[in-house]
Amino acid sequence: MQEKEGKEHWDTVIHAKKHKLSFNFSEIWRYRDLILQFAKRDIATVYNQTILGPLWFLIQPILTTLLFMVVFGGIANIKTDPVPSILFYLSGLTIWNYFTNSFTSTANTFVVNAAIFGKVYFPRLVTPLSKVISGLFIFSVQMLLFLAIFIYFMIFKGLTFHFTPYFLLIPYLILMMGAMGLGGGIIISSLTTKYRDLSYLVTFGVQLLMYVTPVIYPMSLLTGKKRLLILANPMSAVVEDFRYAFFPVGAFNWTHLIYSTVFTIIALLLGILLFNKIERNFMDTV
C-alpha cells in the first residue's frame, strides 16, 4: 500500500476517449469458462422439448443434400463426376453450413443480447466466440455424418480414398470458415446497433452467397469471367479445397487459399476493431 500518488496501480481505468486499438486478450482469456458455458447452453437448449432432439442437426443437411441431388443433379443436370453426388453436396454443405452458422448467429450479437449486456459487464466478444464454438460442435456432428457416408461408399461402392498432404489442411480450413463467419458476423452486428437496415440483408444475403460459392457445382465447370467472379469470393477456395482433401480431383491452388487467408485476417481484424468500438456505448442506441 506504499504506492506513490500518480503511480498507483488501478485494475480498471475507463476513459471516455479510449485508444481504438486497446484490445484486451487477457481479459477474454479470463472469461474462457463463460465462453464454454454459453456454448454449452446453446447446444443444450436449441432443440429442447423436441422429440428428435440433436437429430435435427443431421436432418437439415440430409434433406438439403437430397433436395440438391434432385434439383441440381437431376433437373439441372450438373455433373459432379467422379465424386458421388451425395458426397459432393454433403461435403460442400457441411463446411458451408459452418460458415452460415457462425455468420448468422453472430450477426445479431448486440440486438439479441441487449438484455443481458444491459445488466452486467463481461467482454462482449465472449458471446460471438461462444457461438462459433457451439457451431463447431454442430459442424462436428455433421462432419461425422459425412464421414459415415464416405466410409459406406468406400466399403460398398468401391470408392477409394487417396491420402494426400492436403488432407492435413482440413483443420485449417475449418478454422478459416469459423473465423470468416465470426469476422463477418461481428462486423454486421456492430453496424446494426444503431441502424438496423443491414440486418435485413443477412438472412437472404447468406443464401445468395451460397450460389456464388462452389457448394452445388464444381469449380471445374467454370471458365473465363464466371470463374474469376466465383474465385473473387473468398469462401470459394475454402469449400473447393475442403472437397479436394477428400477427393483429389481438379487442381489445388495455393494462391487462392492465400487470398482467402488474407481476406479472413482482414475481416477478423476489422470486425474486432468495430466491435470493440461499439461495445462501449451500444446500450444507448440498441
Partner: protein, 430 residues
C-alpha cells in the same frame, strides 16, 4: 483502510431523446465531419440538466454531469435521489455496462454488479447449470463456483429443486437462487441496485445480513435504493444525486436526514403512490395517498394531533360471486420495523365493490409519534391470497407541533404516541 478503491473524475453521460431513425443520421454525419476536421463534438456543448418534468429545448440531456467522488476501501456507499436523478446511470457506468460520454473512473480490484439478479438465467437449464452459468457471467471461473457450490445452494435454500429446470421455479425461488450466486462472488467491489425489492421478509433479512458481512470482510459496496431504512441500516456513507449532479456527499445518516427533511428532495410526492397498474386483470390500481382529512395533496408533513386519511383509488374490473377484495396496510417505522397491520377485512360487509372507487382508512389523531413512517400495501383476495404486494409505497412524516412550539424539550421515545385519557378518583375514606 483508507485506501481509495474507486476514483470518479468529472464523469458525465449524455443521452439523446427521441427515436433513432433517419433523423439521427444527419447528427451522426455532422459529428463525424467535426471529428474529421479535428473539432470537438458539437452536440456535447448543448444539452440540459436532466429534469424530467420540464419540456426541454434540446434533444440532448445530461443524465450525469461532472460527477466526482472517491470511495475508500470497505465503505458501503448508498446512492440516493429521486427517480431520474442519475443513480442507475451512475451504476451502469461504474459496472461498465455503458461508457461515459466524458470523464473517467478508476477502480482497484474486481467489480461485480447485481444490477438485476438472475441475469443470464436460462429457463431450460437446471438450477445447478444456472448456478454455473450465472456465476460465469458474473466473472467467476468454473473452479471458483465449484468451490462455493454447496454454500450457494445452502444459502438459496432450494436444495431439493437443484436438478429441476428453472422454468419450473416460483419467482421467489428464482430470485433466491440468483441472489445466492451473486452474494458469493469474490469481488472486491459489489454494485447493487434495489436487489432487496424481492423475496419474502425472511429472505430480505438474510440478504441484508449477507451484504453486511460483505462490508465487514473489507469489501466495498455501492448500493442504490429507494428504501431509506435499507440504506440507513446498511450504508456508512451516502451520496445524494439531484438532476445528474451530486448535491450532497457525506455520512449516510447526515445525507439521509437532509434528503428526508421536509421541503427537500426526498419529501416530494412521497405521500402519493401512483402505480396505475392492472393486477391480474382483476383490479386496476390508480393511486394511494396519505393526507389530512379534506386535503388532497397538501403539506409534506402531518401534525401528530391531526387525524389522517389513507386513500386508495382503484377500480375493480370484475367481481365474481363469493369473491371479496381487501386492502391490508403494514405500518413501519423508519428502520423497517413493522408497528402494526390493519386491513379492511375486519369488516363483515364488503368494503371494496365493483367499479372505480376510493377506499379510505381513517386514522385517528394522536396515534403516531413524530418521525418518518412507511407503508407496505397488500391487496388480498378472499382474505387469504395476496393479489399484490408492494413495500414502502408511501412515506409520511409526522411532526409534533407542540415540540415545535417549544412546549416540550425532547421527543418522547417510541414510534407511537397515543393520547390516552387520564383521570383520578378519590375514594372516600370515612
Amino acid at each position: 483502510m483508507s485506501e481509495i478503491v474507486i476514483k470518479v473524475e468529472d464523469l458525465s453521460k449524455q443521452y439523446r431523446l427521441g427515436q433513432i431513425g433517419t433523423g439521427t443520421l444527419t447528427h451522426d454525419i455532422n459529428r463525424w465531419w467535426h471529428k474529421v476536421r479535428g473539432k470537438e463534438n458539437p452536440y456535447l456543448k448543448i444539452g440540459e440538466i436532466n429534469t424530467h418534468d420540464t419540456k426541454s429545448e434540446s434533444k440532448y440531456v445530461w443524465a450525469l454531469k461532472d460527477i466526482s467522488f472517491d470511495v475508500k476501501k470497505g465503505t458501503s456507499l448508498g446512492i440516493i435521489g429521486k427517480n431520474g436523478a442519475g443513480k442507475s446511470t451512475l451504476l451502469k457506468i461504474l459496472s461498465r455496462v455503458t461508457g461515459p460520454t466524458t470523464g473517467a473512473f478508476k477502480v482497484k480490484g474486481r467489480i461485480a454488479s447485481l444490477l438485476e439478479v438472475g441475469t443470464g438465467f436460462h429457463p431450460e437449464l437446471t438450477g445447478r447449470e444456472n448456478i454455473f452459468m450465472n456465476g460465469a457471467i458474473l466473472g467467476m471461473t468454473r473452479a471458483e463456483i465449484k468451490k462455493k457450490f454447496d454454500e450457494i445452494v445452502a444459502f438459496s435454500g432450494i436444495e431439493r429443486y437443484i436438478e429441476t429446470p428453472a422454468k419450473r421455479y416460483s419467482s421467489g425461488m428464482y430470485v433466491r437462487l440468483a441472489f445466492a450466486v451473486a452474494a458469493h462472488l469474490d469481488s472486491e467491489i459489489l454494485i447493487a441496485d434495489e436487489v432487496l425489492a424481492v423475496g419474502d421478509a425472511e429472505f430480505q433479512k438474510k440478504c441484508l445480513g449477507k451484504m453486511k458481512d460483505v462490508t465487514t470482510e473489507g469489501r466495498t459496496v455501492l448500493f442504490v435504493s429507494h428504501s431509506m431504512p435499507a440504506v440507513r441500516s446498511f450504508c456508512t456513507d451516502a451520496i445524494m444525486l439531484k438532476n445528474g449532479m451530486i448535491s450532497m456527499n457525506g455520512k449516510a445518516e447526515d445525507v439521509i436526514t437532509k434528503y428526508m427533511s421536509p421541503g427537500n428532495e426526498g419529501d416530494e410526492n412521497c405521500k402519493v403512490y401512483t402505480p396505475e397498474l392492472t393486477i391480474h386483470n382483476k383490479v386496476k390500481f390508480y393511486s394511494f395517498s396519505v393526507n389530512k382529512p379534506g386535503e388532497t395533496s397538501g403539506g409534506s408533513s402531518i401534525p401528530i394531533d391531526s387525524p389522517m386519511e389513507l386513500t386508495a383509488d382503484l377500480e375493480v374490473i370484475e367481481l365474481p360471486p363469493n369473491t371479496r377484495y381487501d386492502i391490508t396496510l403494514f405500518f413501519k417505522d423508519d428502520e423497517g420495523q413493522i408497528l402494526f397491520v390493519v386491513g379492511s377485512g375486519v369488516h363483515d360487509e364488503d368494503i371494496i365493490k365493483r367499479g372505480r372507487q376510493s377506499i379510505i382508512c381513517h386514522i385517528p389523531a394522536n396515534l403516531f409519534n413524530s418521525g418518518i413512517f412507511y407503508i407496505d400495501l397488500m391487496i388480498v383476495e378472499n382474505r387469504r391470497s395476496a393479489l399484490f404486494r408492494e413495500n414502502d409505497i408511501v412515506r409520511f412524516v409526522m411532526i409534533d407541533s407542540q415540540l415545535n412550539l417549544g412546549r416540550w424539550m425532547a421527543r418522547a421515545p417510541g414510534p407511537l404516541k397515543p393520547f390516552f385519557k387520564w383521570s383520578s378518583t378519590f375514594p372516600v375514606y370515612q
